[in-house]
Symmetry: C2
Subunit: 361 residues, 2 copies
């Protein structure tokens, strides 16, 4: 097991990474105010991993209730959030009940927002079970739900007390989900670590075959990068925005298709190609860089072009994104493979070209 | 104008108290990131005070949108909260739009929670227009909505950047609302300042007649007490709980009657009598103290006994209160007029007696 810390002062917490951590209740117990937890998960994950986690806690005398949601991004909404509140209240959970998110990004975002807002905030622990959640969404305290007019529009910054990334659970992850998580893995290399990107080029097949050592290295490196960025800028007033590379386009794709048709990571993959293409058109990187990016995404079995959505529609969707200011778009662009920056001054022409080019791809 | 500060480090803010502050846009402008605001108010307040506030900001070049809600505690729910989100998104508000709550406690709690959660948090200003909001709910960052199973069950701690308490607006407050606010004024004296309680005994008629100097003094002293308590314990892990004096009983009354039948302050008044009676039954204060409290509340035209709800039902409702732990009730009891403490060890017998006595009153 390896342990990293997210250095956030009084809100600092540990990320444990390793195999079979799920049933190691001794890692969780010190974080509980009182021995009672509510585990929020979904039907798919519950069938595989609810018992190992709940059982290990139960044996140690922890009172465990479980709240099992439907599986899918389309359930990341008010209705499902209210199901969590209802269950917590019906089961008489109080301010000292710790909420544990057991699942992928959707479960983590929903459960985290429920923890942030139930009785104005209760203790929260992340147990991410997808690659995407382990390398990205479980770290940093972004929680929230979607609104019909935009993704993650309602939410809060709310840090967990602990992140427990059990890499053994990735064995049961469907290949499509593994690939989707790989989009965020590649993103971490692209924005912050060119050497890690090169390592991914050398190890992509191992990763997709769930090679334990390779996966552990990738998860660890991504967590290191994300923890450092979050510690520097918890509320995204600066450097943290770089983590949104590919996400302005990606969110527009998800929103345009209706949540849940493409996986988040798939939309981000196509979005990263669009952002890389835009970086090239504004003279920041070379055509060869874009080709390297596309090649790696393809090897990770990810889409490298957006679905059939008109460029004007994508643009409109991007303008309601949280990251827009008064409809003015900000883009995270690449200065090189391994370095990114936020640009508020992208001219209309290359943006139109990038959108039209992508649409034609 | 008098100014107090709530000392919360990087989240510190000013409370301005005085007449005709509503139209003094120069107090608000320095707090805005960009010159655009969304004013959340209700139909009653909008008719009286939306134009003075919005007009003063508009003249200074601020882009103002307004969101006018129905008036009443029964609207402090998901549906109304979603109306705020919808309006913010439809009008393309972004992270730099400042949300201003113009109204009483319901508007402040709803708008504050919307500000806390829209795009994970946008700037927020409180312009309280009721006595209750000026002396209590606008200060300290408690925001939230009700759930069918309990009051304020969903919410967040989210501090405003500024509180603007315009005492001139109290002139138009219906007498019943003025009295309801007086319950919280009396509470501040009871828990923290015996001399202020005695001052209230001397000045209650002036206050009810909206004597400007008397009201300004009462608002200022309550804000001082609340600001000090909040600065000491922002998230209610200790001393802040004393502000809940009368509220465990009060919330049960509100919940039992259905939100909005009794005003919050009315329920708190009856709740304070019950808590005082319980303090007497556990030997903390004298019968004469309880009589002084009842007498002052009566002069403030407030109820001093709960409505017709069975004691068992009240007890059941108290057990789902946020302040309960595992169904175990904590009570804020009086040690004297001007001093209170939290008690987790109240025996069943005096509690039953207090509930039965009140029911018979």
């Amino acid at each position: 097991m390896q342990t990293l810390r997210v250095e956030l002062g009084e809100r600092a917490y540990a990320i444990h990474i390793g195999e079979r951590l799920l049933s190691r209740a001794e890692l969780i117990l010190p974080q509980l105010d009182l021995p009672r937890v509510a585990i929020v998960t979904n039907t798919t994950v519950a069938a595989l991993y609810l018992e190992p986690l709940a059982g290990a806690l139960g044996i140690r005398g922890v009172d465990v209730i479980s709240i099992v949601l439907e599986d899918g991004e389309r359930y990341k909404d008010w209705t499902t959030l209210n199901r969590i509140y209802d269950a917590l209240l019906e089961r008489r959970c109080d301010r000292k009940t710790t909420l544990i998110a057991l699942g992928g990004g959707v479960v983590g975002d929903l459960a985290g927002f429920a923890a942030a807002t139930f009785m104005r905030g209760i203790p929260f622990i992340q147990v991410p079970t997808t690659l995407l959640a382990q390398v990205d969404s479980s770290i940093g305290g972004k929680t929230g739900i979607n609104h019909p007019l935009g993704k993650n529009m309602i939410g809060a910054f709310y840090q967990p007390r602990l992140v427990l990334a059990d890499t053994a659970v990735l064995d049961t992850l469907p290949p499509r989900e593994l690939s989707a998580g790989m989009a965020e893995v590649i993103k971490h290399g692209l924005i912050r670590d060119g050497a890690f990107f090169a390592w991914l080029e050398q190890n992509m097949e191992k990763l997709l075959a769930c090679d334990r050592d390779a996966l552990a290295h990738a998860v660890h490196r991504c967590c290191e990068i994300k923890a450092a960025v979050v510690a520097e800028d918890e509320r995204e007033t600066g450097v943290r925005a770089l983590l949104n590379f590919g996400h302005t386009f990606g969110h527009a794709i998800e929103s345009g298709l209706g949540y849940g048709n493409w996986l988040h990571g798939e939309a981000v993959a196509a979005g990263m190609v669009m952002a890389a293409d835009l970086s090239r058109r504004t003279g920041l990187i070379a055509e060869a860089d874009v080709e390297r990016i596309i090649a790696l995404l393809k090897r990770a079995r990810l889409p490298t072009a957006p679905p059939d959505i008109a460029p004007e529609r994508l643009l409109e969707l991007m303008r309601v994104d949280k990251k827009a200011e008064r409809g003015k778009l900000h883009f995270v662009l690449l200065d090189a493979i391994g370095a990114a920056s936020v640009r508020a001054d992208v001219p209309a022409a290359p943006l139109q070209q990038a959108l039209a080019f992508s649409a034609a791809a």
